[in-house]
């Protein structure tokens, strides 16, 4: 098992290299970060050339990638434009933990991302929690009451949820719970931000503001999950050992929750792990609509100014998270299912 984990981790490294190269090439041709530096005015010609030189944007793409990857403190660059490389570089490169400095805010990328990461994580974890708990309850319920009216309704609703674009859910829920509730004089949910600044960033505030975004993110995955759980539960419940357990006289509750659920949860683990990209993708739109100060919004803001270090940092972080999650999924899967033994 240990060797398997190490092997999988080693496998992830070249993959991340691949990803970084693909992204870097795409991003180099994305837009001009210097173009928007002049505020409302177009950046001046002399400033333009100077900034490109100082920020190293005049270098060929492979050099920029190299600097991004391993830094440039081993070489000298020409920053005053006289054609002589005289200033030693200061970047240490991603491999040494330096993701560079944001071209927009001049803060280190890790700091920029670090400020937003917790906010996204809060949203993600809460959504994951809602999704898993909710879909388990609903999935198990509809599996046990297969073909009941409620089961049909759940099935249909999950289809609809599955097909809903996240922004439509978000707008609709904002309209209903924010606008209409307010109009009707009901207690209404806040539609933007992470907390009411007057009240401060208290737990209650954050929880209250989280309701709608979490709802929006959850609905899509929730629909798919509960369907999935329903079908695996049905499959497991139909198997011989469950019938045996019941025939032995074990209480129904125990059969369902201990035996069946344990076995049915196996595939769910995979789905949860593999759905991470989907969730993160949903976060971009959700954070934008609900003005949630997370990574998704950071991404949009900085993409629109072609802030390569930050965008690259976010994407690499996400890619890493996805890779790690896949590995974790495999490991948990192996751990949960004694039948699966990976060769050395």
């Amino acid at each position: 098992m240990g060797r398997y984990i190490i092997k999988r981790l080693l496998q992830g490294i070249p993959l991340l290299f691949f990803i970084s190269i693909i992204l870097f090439v795409l991003m180099m041709n994305m837009g001009d970060p210097v173009a928007t530096m002049g505020g409302r005015r177009v950046t001046r010609a002399s400033d333009y050339e100077r900034l490109r030189r100082q920020l190293g944007l005049d270098k060929p793409i492979y050099t920029q990638y190299l600097y991004w990857l391993i830094g440039n403190d081993w070489t000298k660059t020409d920053v005053d434009g006289d054609g002589v490389a005289e200033t030693p570089g200061t970047r240490r490169g991603v491999l040494r933990g330096d993701f560079g400095v944001s071209l927009v805010s001049r803060k280190p990328v890790l700091q920029v991302i670090g400020e937003r990461l917790p906010n996204t994580l809060i949203l993600m974890l809460a959504s994951e929690f809602v999704i898993i708990v909710g879909s388990l309850l609903v999935g198990v319920y509809s599996a046990l009451r297969q073909y009941s009216a409620l089961d049909h309704i759940i099935t249909a609703l999950s289809f609809i949820g599955y097909s809903m674009p996240i922004f439509f859910i978000a707008l609709l829920s904002m309209y209903i719970f924010g606008v209409l509730f307010k109009r009707w004089g009901l207690p209404y949910l806040p539609t933007v931000g992470m907390f009411d600044p007057q009240a401060g960033k208290t737990t209650a505030q954050v929880l209250w503001h989280m309701v709608l975004p979490v709802l929006s993110i959850s609905i899509i995955s929730f629909a798919a999950y509960s369907r999935y759980i329903r079908s695996t539960m049905l499959e497991v419940l139909g198997q011989d050992y469950i019938r045996t357990a019941r025939a032995k006289g074990l209480p129904r509750r125990e059969v369902v929750y201990v035996h069946a659920l344990k076995n049915a949860s196996l595939p769910i683990v995979t789905v949860v792990g593999l759905d991470l990209p989907l969730l993160l993708g949903g976060a971009v739109v959700t954070e934008r609509i609900f003005a949630w100060p997370g990574m998704g919004r950071l991404f949009l803001d900085h993409v629109s100014r072609s802030d390569l270090p930050v965008v690259m940092g976010i994407l690499m972080m996400i890619a890493t998270a996805v890779v790690v999650f896949q590995i974790l999924t495999d490991i948990v899967y192996a751990w949960l299912d004694p039948r699966i033994r990976y060769e050395k």
Binding site: K7, L10, Q11, P14, L15
Partner: protein, 330 residues
């Protein structure tokens, strides 16, 4: 070229399948020695039987010698043309046209999405025999009637046929390019016993009519005896014995051949009872890690120390009778 030249010459043919495990790019960590240095010839017009237990490499040998698998080492010439040296598509096509194959599984060997017409005419299309589609259709019907099927069936799909019929379609396809040489890769083992004889008879009949040469791969020794002129025995990727049919059946030299033959039921019960059964112990070892020396030694009742150490040479002990065993007298 003298007609006495063998049609197919196989020299030191090896086929190892790599066993890979890879992180990014796969790396070879071992190899399955499916075919490990075999040499033989097939004379024009004869049928050479190739027998052995499942997994001994007979099918691989048959496919490799046609170039369907790239060989690890060795040379094969068919009608004087080097199979593996053919780089240009034209040369390869020339070889493909002369050598064909009939497969074991009549269900898997026909493209389920194609009609019989398309299947049987494919070789003609590829080799540009009868470029006119109409003439080709006629030829397809002709070939079908040759193998005993009605020409009306050309527009049906393979799943509408029985196993035997499908095998006939496979034979018709093999014949479509007017080959000299056909590898029959266990063509009957997947068929009902009642059908087997029909197909074998069909093959014999066709051989007579078109002067075909067969490499007949089988594990059914009695059927081999029926159809073959010569028989070769393979064990775990190597050839252990080769000889004229009657010579081999009557005087098997290699202990493995003896064991195989002793397992064949003989129609005459008296003879059968009189015979001494030779039961092999143990399983066939993994070709991934074949035994040292003589590959048969772990199961051989006659094995001595030398068999563990030294690979026995492939020798001709009598005219046309080859064997690889230390225990066979010089």
């Amino acid at each position: 070229m003298k007609p006495a030249d063998p049609l197919v010459v196989v020299k030191n043919l090896k086929k190892y399948f790599p066993v890979t495990s890879g992180l990014v790019f796969q790396r070879k960590t071992g190899e399955v020695r499916a075919v490990d240095d075999i040499s033989f010839t097939v004379e024009r017009g004869e049928t050479l039987g190739l027998v052995g237990e499942s997994g001994c490499g007979k099918t691989t040998a048959g496919r490799t010698l046609l170039g369907l698998y790239p060989p690890t080492a060795g040379h094969v010439t068919i009608d004087g043309m080097d199979v593996y040296a053919a780089r240009r598509r034209r040369d390869l096509l020339a070889i493909r046209r002369k050598a064909q194959i009939i497969f074991q599984d009549p269900y898997a060997s026909l493209n389920p999405r194609w009609t019989v017409d398309a299947i049987v005419s494919e070789p003609m299309r590829v080799h540009s025999i009868l470029p006119d589609p109409k003439a080709r259709s006629e030829r397809v019907k002709e070939l079908l009637s040759l193998v005993g099927l009605s020409g009306q069936l050309v527009n049906r799909f393979p799943h509408e046929f029985s196993g035997g019929q499908r095998q006939r379609i496979g034979i018709a396809r093999a014949l479509a390019s007017d080959p000299l040489f056909i590898v029959c890769d266990e063509p009957i083992s997947a068929l009902d016993v009642s059908i087997q004889a029909q197909v074998v008879n069909l093959l014999e009949d066709l051989q007579d009519r078109f002067g075909l040469t067969y490499l007949f791969i089988a594990h059914n020794l009695s059927m081999v005896r029926h159809i073959c002129n010569r028989v070769a025995v393979m064990y775990l990727g190597v050839m252990v014995e080769l000889g004229e049919r009657d010579e081999l059946y009557d005087h098997p030299l290699h202990p493995y051949t003896q064991a195989l033959l002793s397992a064949v039921p003989i129609p005459n019960p008296k003879q059968d009872r009189a015979r001494q059964r030779m039961i092999l112990s143990g399983d066939v070892p993994s070709p991934l890690n074949p035994p040292s020396g003589c590959r048969f030694h772990p199961r051989c009742p006659l094995a001595v120390e030398r068999c563990r150490q030294e690979i026995p040479a492939w020798r001709e002990v009598a005219t046309g009778h080859w064997v690889a065993c230390h225990k066979v007298a010089e």
